[in-house]
């Protein structure tokens, strides 16, 4: 028992140190700064925030729109996850890589595409701008990949023989799904839901651009206070409120997750994916791929079209001219931006995988209140406002080594957001490895190292690759705190896009769209490459 505890501690040490120094410490520093400005705690802003009717409304909206967005993403995403996990069809890997693309696109860019699509002149024919539907649809657009990939990678490990056995025993198709597959999938669904929930709970750009004045989340309010009004006390009080809400929800989630984990026999993708043979199966595949094309593809198509159109004619000028400066330093050479983006993303991914996989092992193999607390801590950065984290870095990371203006600050901020993804994709897979399989191997004479290598490692590797794809995408898209920290002057693709969009003009707009398309292609290619890895290694099973 003691050795076991020591082992856990050894696994948890690095993640704890990482989160302690790069999350808890900055967070506490900025909260103290806001709530105890002169060294004495001042509860007034907290009381103001808690008693304000407006802010109660904001808190309530934050909660229900996140719940609704999560539910909608699940309803639309689960059939997609099923299709991509269970069927083999031409272009499947491409589709699976492509669904990740929306995930990285800056909200300013997506916002203008959504406004074009949801306006009265759009294909829907109704004006959905500034309605809750615009927000919900954009949230599905951004988070679809989370459900498809997290649940999908789990689903393809479930042996279809289990469901077939239930069918043989007389269960209907629906009953077999509900009573056999669904319970097995539950940990992955819970995992994906928790991430989607946190992402939409802290939604910022989508709400600002598509929601207009009548909608505001806590995240938006924190940003308004801190950046618009320079009121760090109210911002800190709001951040504390947001943190408490997220913490409570995560704690409840961790309890649920632990109770529900089921171990089962993992199968190989070779046996679980089949070619859609029946008309029903074909319809299902075609329907879901069609849905993805409309939901995810149409905003992307708007961007591509805009990047190819100049004063009413088709042209590749915006791509060709990307290298030219046109007399302005607004234009970051795209190769430079791509290089910076890749460098940050690679660093962030490595950090996130190392820290995240260790953390996932703790979460997967240990239980009890401590392990639950650890799990909650890991997820918290995703539910913390970007302004809070960014400003926290500034306040806390000046000493002993001044990290605030170093190269590392950006990948570290990205890794903080990427770690929950790694943990959430890896832990359910790791947990699913049957204990009996391990015991059998041990009984046959394999040492603990060999057991881990032969039984766990193949699954761990798969999990790490799914996590890596997300970590890479998170970093490429520059989510989270990076817009609120001082950065080394190394413009990434999203930064270059923002710079272009800061001035009017056909060329700046066209080039911004062209750079967005380059970002899309880069993301698709990176995820596709990681997928190839995965496919190559499936033979290990």
């Amino acid at each position: 028992m003691r050795r076991r505890r020591l082992g856990t501690l050894a696994l948890a040490a690095l993640p704890l140190a990482f989160l302690g120094y790069f999350f808890v410490y900055p967070l506490v520093s900025i909260l103290i700064r806001g709530l105890a400005p002169g060294g004495d705690f001042d509860g007034a802003p907290l009381v103001d925030v808690l008693t304000s009717g407006d802010l109660r409304g904001v808190a309530w909206f934050t909660l229900w729109q996140a719940a609704a967005s999560t539910a909608l993403t699940l309803i639309i995403g689960l059939p997609g996850a099923y299709v991509l996990a269970r069927f083999r069809f031409p272009g499947r890997r491409l589709v699976r890589a492509a669904v990740t693309i929306p995930f990285v696109l800056p909200t300013v860019v997506v916002g203008t595409a959504f406004i074009a699509l949801l306006g009265p002149g759009g294909p829907l024919g109704v004006d959905l701008r500034r309605t809750i539907w615009a927000i919900l649809l954009a949230h599905v657009f951004y988070n679809y990949a989370v459900v498809v990939r997290t649940v999908g990678s789990f689903w393809e490990r479930i042996d279809p023989a289990l469901e077939e056995a239930a069918r043989v025993l007389g269960a209907s198709r629906w009953e077999a799904f509900r009573r056999v597959t669904l319970p097995l999938l539950r940990p992955a669904i819970a995992s994906a839901s928790s991430i989607v929930f946190l992402f939409t709970f802290t939604s910022f750009g989508v709400i600002l651009i598509l929601g207009g004045l009548q909608f505001a989340t806590l995240e938006v309010e924190i940003w308004r206070q801190a950046v618009g009004l320079l009121d760090n006390s109210t911002a800190a009080a709001l951040a504390l409120l947001q943190l408490a809400g997220v913490g409570l929800l995560l704690a409840a989630y961790a309890r649920y997750q632990e109770r529900r984990a089921v171990q089962f026999q993992v199968g190989s993708t070779r046996t679980t994916a089949r070619i859609p043979a029946t008309p029903g199966a074909k319809l299902l595949v075609a329907g879901n791929v069609g849905l993805m094309a409309v939901l995810l593809g149409s905003p992307l198509a708007v961007l591509i079209l805009r990047s190819l159109r100049s004063s009413g004619r088709f042209t590749f000028d915006f791509y060709r001219d990307l290298g030219e400066s046109a007399g302005s330093v607004l234009f970051v050479p795209p190769l430079e931006a791509v290089g910076n983006s890749l460098r940050f993303a690679l660093t962030a991914t490595i950090v996130a995988i190392v820290v995240g996989m260790l953390a996932a092992a703790v979460v997967a193999y240990r239980s009890g209140p401590l392990a639950r607390g650890f799990d909650t801590l890991l997820m918290l950065p995703l539910g913390t406002s970007a302004v809070t984290i960014g400003f926290g870095f500034l306040v806390a990371l000046g000493e002993p080594v001044d990290l605030r203006t170093s190269f590392w600050i950006v990948p570290l901020a990205h890794a903080l957001i990427a770690i929950p993804f790694v943990v959430r994709t890896a832990a359910p897979l790791m947990r699913s490895v049957r204990r009996r399989l391990r015991e059998a191997a041990a009984m046959l004479g394999a040492g603990p190292g060999r057991v881990w290598r032969e039984i766990d490692l193949p699954i761990v590797r798969r999990a790490a690759l799914v996590g890596a794809a997300f970590a890479f995408a998170v970093s490429l898209g520059e989510f989270g705190a990076t817009s609120f920290i001082v950065r080394p002057d190394a413009p990434t693709l999203p930064v270059a896009i923002f710079r272009l969009l800061s001035q009017p003009g056909g060329i700046t707009f066209g080039r911004a769209m062209a750079l967005s398309v380059i970002l899309m292609v880069l993301t698709g290619a990176a995820v596709f490459a990681i997928e190839r890895f995965r496919a190559g290694e499936a033979a290990d099973f």
């Binding site: 950046v227 004063s311 000493e399 950065r487 003009g505 056909g506």
Partner: protein, 348 residues
């Protein structure tokens, strides 16, 4: 082991000498904290390095509000030596926080005294620009001339045509709100709150930021929206010419010169710097024509130095409002929150 240890010790000793050398003489580098819209050619900054022997490292820090708050949060242990890009709407707050060391640059002689808002010279004006209403020339003609004044915008003929930015989240949005406050002050019979209530009833649209308002909602120039009037900059029409291919003879958008708000951008030496002298030299440099000549076409604002040369394409398509509105920075700092709050209540 021995030689390795010796080598490490030597390295440490070398570094210590190097560090000591840096401490007493001029710094190799100064750090410039600025907002994300800062832009000058690399050669310009290299020119400073050549003259002074001091390199400039640029730290983009988000938008103006984000940058100012970051400077406030780090004032005990600043990340930079010079800050550029604080405007008159944030100025008083920054001065109250004692962010800057006074420095009176000799270059101020060439600057319009109206731009020098701090008599103690804790900040130095570098450039200015006007936030103005832009209109889509195609949408207006002899039947319906573009509006001439702020008051015209409440006219039913211009119903559903205007898009503005939220002053809580956008700097031009705040500037336009301030222009309306200057035009319809609180002690007048018809106040700015009345004006905004009328604008609301005339179906004004509010977007979160300039990008969404201009590219998403405005119909003029390169934009693809459905509204012909937008709050933007006096320098947006020249940008529509310069960043168009082929370049049109005439800008597709125009500026309404009533109701413009003048934004002045300042630079200051951050208190706590250990490179005060070099930082002062950099302020001088920012006022020199080498830097000031680059300002128009890179940042689309006017140089503060009157001796700077303005590029012809910039002058030709830019209208400079004769009497832009201003509000005392002191007054802005005092009332900013309340004004934004009141505005939000009217518009929500």
């Amino acid at each position: 082991m021995r030689p390795l240890l010796a080598r490490i010790l030597l390295l440490i000793a070398g570094l210590a000498v190097l560090a000591a050398a840096c401490g007493e003489s001029r710094p190799d580098e100064i750090v410039l904290m600025t907002h994300d819209s800062f832009a000058v050619p690399e050669e310009t900054l290299l020119a400073f390095e050549e003259d002074s022997g001091v390199a400039v490292r640029v730290l983009p820090s988000g938008d103006a509000g984000s940058m100012v708050n970051q400077a406030i949060l780090t004032k005990d242990n600043p990340v930079a030596d010079v800050l550029f890009g604080i405007d008159n709407t944030f100025l008083s707050r920054a001065l109250a926080e004692d962010l800057f060391i006074p420095y009176e640059s000799a270059g101020l002689d060439a600057v319009d005294p109206e731009l020098i808002l701090d008599p103690q010279h804790r900040v130095t004006p570098i450039d200015f620009g006007d936030v103005c209403l832009n209109y889509d020339k195609e949408a207006f003609g002899p039947d319906l001339p573009p509006p001439q004044t702020l008051a015209d915008l409440t006219d039913a003929r211009y119903r559903g045509m205007l898009v503005v930015e939220d002053p809580a989240s956008s700097s031009p949005g705040l500037a336009f709100l301030l222009a309306t406050i200057a035009a319809f002050p609180d002690d007048a019979a018809y106040t700015w709150t009345d004006y905004w209530a009328d604008l609301r009833d005339n179906d004004v649209r509010v977007e979160a930021g300039w990008e969404a308002a201009y590219y998403g909602s405005f119909s003029g120039g390169s934009a693809e929206g459905d509204r012909p009037l937008v709050v933007s900059y006096a320098s947006s029409p020249p940008a529509e010419v310069i960043f168009a291919d082929p370049r049109p003879d005439e800008a597709p958008t125009g500026v309404i010169t009533d109701g413009c708000f003048r934004q002045i951008e300042f630079a200051g030496i951050l208190a706590g710097t250990d490179a005060e002298e070099a930082a002062g030299e950099f302020i001088d440099f920012m006022l020199s024509t080498t830097f000031q000549n680059e300002v128009p076409l890179n940042m689309f604002v006017f140089p503060a130095n009157r001796q700077a040369t303005l590029p012809p394409e910039f002058v030709e398509h830019t209208q400079v409002p004769e009497s832009p509105r201003t509000v005392d920075p002191e007054l802005i700092a005092e009332n900013r929150n309340e004004w934004i709050q009141t505005w939000t209540e009217i518009m929500r």
